[in-house]
């Protein structure tokens, strides 16, 4: 079913993933879960999602590095990337935009608003 929007959600916090997975699935997304950046890259080999939610502080490959690698891939240029992080100082946010993020959401967030933002980004 091609009409189903695909999204990858990457975070190393199991309990955060749980709530996000539940809400996005309920809103009609096909949700892929990654525990770190390298798992995101692994998934991207087979999937082309409409959006990716990326935490910054993750083991093995962190959010910035993952962002950089994704933006280096030509075929993923339409993929919207939303950084979701507890880091909220301007320098960190600017860095994310500089590396090619489409949105930056700070933790803790309202799930409702996050869903809205992602919806707006991909339509």
């Amino acid at each position: 079913m091609t009409s189903m929007k695909k999204i990858i959600i990457a975070d190393d916090e199991h309990k955060i993933l749980m709530s996000l997975e539940y809400s996005f699935r309920k809103s009609g997304y096909e949700v892929f879960i990654a525990r770190d950046g390298s798992e995101v890259m692994e998934l991207l080999k087979t999937e082309t999602p409409a959006a990716i939610l990326l935490d910054i502080m993750m083991p093995n490959l962190d959010g910035y590095e993952t962002l950089q690698q994704i933006r280096a891939e030509e075929q993923l240029k339409d993929c919207k990337i939303v950084i979701v992080s507890a880091k909220n100082n301007p320098a960190d946010i600017q860095k994310a935009y500089d590396l090619g993020a489409d949105a930056y959401v700070t933790k803790p967030y309202s799930i409702k608003k996050l869903l809205q933002q992602v919806d707006e980004l991909i339509t």
Binding site: S19, N60, K107
Partner: protein, 888 residues
């Protein structure tokens, strides 16, 4: 011994002196340069040939009064610690190089007074040097069995004197700055002091125990002489008065003789060397006198009835018994005594001659226009010739005048003349009212009295006629001493009190008497008003110091007084400073004249001087306080800067920490908030998921709480005096308490946990609660990293070197070597991408480290085998810490 052999011996002896002098001069090691014993021994130059031969003559023919020459100094030397310390300070800061400089500077830096003193000294000392030459010559002839020759060129003594002259002029003029210390000469003189003492003791022991059968025997034989009792008593009231005055005379001599002033003051390198001289010099005087009595009376016994010169007993006695070695030794001892006296006296006198007579009155104009090289050469040449000339004069004096007179009387005459300096000398440092005219008139009157009462009768050979001045109780010598000094002192005092001193005198009086107040800023104590250009002064300095040294000196001066190098008008301080720079080379009087030639001085009244002096005294005090305060401020400001830097660093750390804390807090809050939001909005959530979210809210709240507890606990460890509850615990029990709760988890995760105890005892000192927390942290860490691999964990406990040591190893991923230390930093793991999130707050290792450090132990991680090992060690020498650290 024949005369050629003896001459060669003398030659060898002088070569030895040259050798010592050149070694000392070249090596410049502290042993030579900065040796209180060399200093003290050089002061023993006081004991000249007069001591060696004259004392024995007096003891044999007149009695004990020879002792007065040593009693005076021994009585007064303890006072050196006050008097000489003061004179040394004054001389050091004013670059004084002779007694003439010392006295004339005090009375207004007067050229004429310096010259007068130089002439008096020369008049007193040249005959005295002649006396030493006579001693050398007489003993030389006596030992070599040759007759005195009237032809100067066939008299071997002439050549001995020539050698001494060469030595003195060579080493005495090494430095153009006369206030410099002459290391070589002083070392040679100190060596001579040792030689003359040892040789004299050898003679004394030989006479007492070799010729006679000890003191008792000698005394028994001597006491048979009819005049023995008479000679060996003080001699009633008359004798006592003479004794007193003679002691006073020698007391003043130890200060005033140019050679004494030179060795004690000019050659003093450290004030504390005086402390050694304080006991060593009196001891020396005592030792050299021990055997005077036995030798004198031994001679009286041995040469009873024979007509021999008693002054020569010390040579005649060993000669009588054919003891050539001892004879020669005594001769060499006497030679040492004479040579050292001649050297130092001629050097001291030549400095006076050049700096107080020849330069200020003769060649000052010439040298003020010449360059530094020529000037240095000229000044040195003047001094060289001066030394040679003095010795030649003394030689001629001996040859044609004192041949017939005894050592003792000529020596005493010298003493009496030199003693005329006493009033102006001692008043210089103790009495501010003493004036130039007082000093000059007193000196002239005193010397005139000496001439009338001593020299004239001596020259005419007639008995002193009875006159107004004759006091029946006194010997002629004592009489002359008493009257000359009395008249001198009275005139000095009266003229000083009633005369009006000029302001320079008053200025120097202040600087001399209150030297301790001006010691550091003595340039400021100099009062001078007028106009002067720095450039003019600089040009003069260059003539004598050279370009380089002048630049250095002025730089030091400017730094000392905080003056910029561009300052082109000179003030009183620079004038005094420049005079000091020149003083050592050309004497204080010439220095003043030279500086005066380029400056224009304004008239200044005495009350004005006193005002300025008072002001400068206060300024110096103020300056001192200011310097102290500014030093304190500097220290404070450094401390503040340091504190500020460390505060900034702490602030930065705090910021980073808060940042990390905020991040760590937001993670569980995010989970809680999301779960809450979903529970609120989503009514048709399946029951299983609903309860999962509820569980998440509870567990994340717990996590939040744990995190906050850890942060607060860590803060407590860091910032409060955490009192550990240290007691003796059984480590086995403690380990059990840690292991039991996790056994289930370990089993579930299929981890192999091995505990190995390798202990020589079971009880150790630690805080059990905290230790359990640490081991728990480390084990939790180990489980986390080995969990997925079903690896193994090894906990081993041992006690090497009285320490309690725990090792926790887990197989699994290793930590990069450069991060092994950083893992103990707060939140390190959560910041580091290569490691998985910690189970707890991310503060566990930081807290563990702090706890172990509070135990005075250490903790570190190491990669071994295919895993990581944490080692922690807690010292057990608990007694040491018990009192200091834990029982606060």
């Amino acid at each position: 011994m024949n005369s050629v052999g003896l001459f060669i011996l003398v030659l060898l002896y002088l070569v030895l002196l040259f050798f010592i002098a050149s070694v000392a001069e070249k090596s410049r090691k502290p042993f030579w340069v900065n040796n209180p014993y060399i200093y003290s021994l050089s002061i023993a130059v006081y004991c000249s040939a007069w001591t060696y031969y004259g004392s024995i003559g007096v003891a044999a023919t007149r009695g004990l009064e020879y002792l007065t020459i040593y009693i005076g100094p021994i009585i007064i030397i303890p006072a050196w610690i006050l008097i000489n310390a003061k004179i040394i300070r004054i001389s050091r800061v004013n670059k004084i190089s002779s007694i003439a400089d010392f006295i004339s500077l005090r009375y207004g830096n007067s050229r004429s007074l310096g010259a007068l003193i130089t002439l008096i000294c020369a008049a007193a000392i040249v005959p005295y040097i002649g006396l030493q030459i006579k001693a050398i010559s007489d003993t030389f002839h006596l030992v070599s069995h040759t007759a005195n020759s009237n032809n100067i060129f066939t008299d071997s003594a002439t050549y001995v004197v020539a050698l001494i002259t060469v030595f003195s002029s060579y080493y005495g003029t090494k430095y153009v700055d006369a206030s410099e210390r002459r290391v070589g000469v002083i070392a040679a003189v100190a060596a001579e002091s040792i030689l003359k003492l040892v040789f004299f003791l050898v003679l004394g022991i030989y006479v007492t125990y070799g010729v006679f059968n000890g003191w008792d025997d000698l005394y028994a034989q001597a006491s048979t002489f009819s005049d023995f009792a008479h000679k060996n008593s003080i001699g009633g009231l008359t004798g006592a008065l003479n004794w007193c005055l003679m002691s006073l005379l020698s007391m003043s001599a130890i200060f005033l003789l140019p050679r004494q002033f030179h060795t004690t003051i000019v050659e003093n390198r450290r004030e504390k060397h005086l402390r050694t001289a304080l006991w060593l010099v009196p001891l020396y005087l005592l030792l050299i006198n021990i055997f005077v009595f036995p030798v004198a009376w031994g001679g009286n016994i041995l040469f009873k009835g024979a007509s021999v010169n008693a002054e020569m007993y010390s040579i005649l006695i060993p000669q009588k018994f054919g003891q050539d070695v001892i004879t020669v030794i005594v001769f060499l001892g006497g030679l040492s005594a004479s040579v050292s006296m001649i050297i130092i006296s001629s050097i001291a006198l030549s400095i006076m001659m050049s700096n107080n007579l020849i330069i200020p009155y003769g060649i000052l104009n010439r040298i003020s226009e010449s360059n530094v090289k020529d000037n240095t050469k000229l000044i040195v040449t003047v001094r060289k010739i001066g030394i040679a000339l003095l010795i030649v004069c003394a030689y001629l004096f001996y040859k044609f005048y004192i041949n017939e007179n005894s050592l003792f009387s000529v020596g005493l005459m010298s003493f009496v003349i030199i003693a005329q300096l006493a009033p102006s000398f001692f008043a210089a440092i103790f009495w501010k009212r003493g004036s130039y005219w007082g000093a000059v008139s007193g000196l002239i009157a005193g010397v005139f009295m000496c001439y009338k009462m001593l020299i004239l009768p001596e020259m005419s050979g007639a008995n002193v006629s009875h006159s107004f001045f004759t006091i029946d109780y006194f010997d002629p010598m004592t009489n002359a001493f008493f009257w000359s000094l009395f008249v001198n002192t009275v005139i000095f005092a009266v003229v000083s009190i009633f005369g009006k001193g000029n302001y320079t005198e008053r200025n120097y009086a202040e600087m001399y008497v209150d030297i301790d107040k001006y010691l550091k800023y003595q340039d400021s104590a100099f009062v001078w008003k007028g106009t002067a250009e720095t450039e003019d002064i600089r040009r003069i300095l260059i003539r004598f110091l050279g370009e380089e040294k002048t630049k250095q000196a002025l730089h030091i001066f400017n730094q000392k007084y905080n003056i910029t190098d561009e300052e082109d008008t000179a003030d009183a301080r620079l004038i005094k400073f420049s005079e000091n720079l020149l003083a050592g080379r050309i004497g204080t009087a010439s220095a003043k004249i030279l500086i005066e030639s380029v400056t224009k001085e304004d008239k200044i009244s005495l009350p004005e001087v006193l005002g300025i002096l008072e002001e400068s005294k206060q300024n110096i005090l103020l300056n001192k306080q200011l310097t102290e305060q500014s030093q304190k401020l500097k220290q404070l400001s450094a401390q503040l800067q340091h504190a500020n830097a460390s505060l900034l660093e702490k602030d930065k750390q705090k910021d980073e920490f808060l940042d990390a804390v905020a991040h760590e807090l937001r993670t569980p809050i995010t989970a809680i908030r999301a779960a809450g939001e979903l529970l609120q909005d989503d009514e048709d959530m399946p029951e299983g998921i609903r309860s999962q979210f509820l569980y998440n809210i509870i567990s994340e709240s717990d996590r939040l709480n744990e995190l906050i507890n850890d942060i607060l606990y860590l803060d407590k460890l860091e910032h409060t005096e955490q009192v550990l509850e240290i007691a003796q615990y059984n480590i086995k029990n403690t380990i059990k308490k840690v292991i039991q709760p996790i056994e289930h988890l370990v089993e579930k995760e299929e981890i192999k946990l091995d505990v190995r105890l390798n202990l020589t005892r079971e009880f150790f000192y630690y805080d059990e609660k905290r230790m359990i927390q640490v081991i728990n942290n480390l084990l939790a860490n180990a489980i986390k990293f080995t969990k997925d691999r079903h690896g193994e964990i090894l906990l081993s406990v041992c006690n090497p070197q009285e320490n309690l040591e725990l090792k926790i190893y887990n197989s699994g991923k290793q930590i990069p070597d450069d991060e092994l230390e950083m893992i103990f930093e707060k939140f390190y793991q959560s910041r580091n991408q290569n490691l998985k999130k910690p189970l707890g707050s991310g503060l566990g290792l930081s807290i563990s480290k702090k706890i172990i450090e509070a135990h005075h132990g250490y903790i570190y991680a190491k990669n071994i085998l295919d895993g990581v090992q944490f080692t922690l060690s807690v010292p057990q020498n608990y007694d040491k810490y018990e009192k200091n650290n834990y029982s606060r």
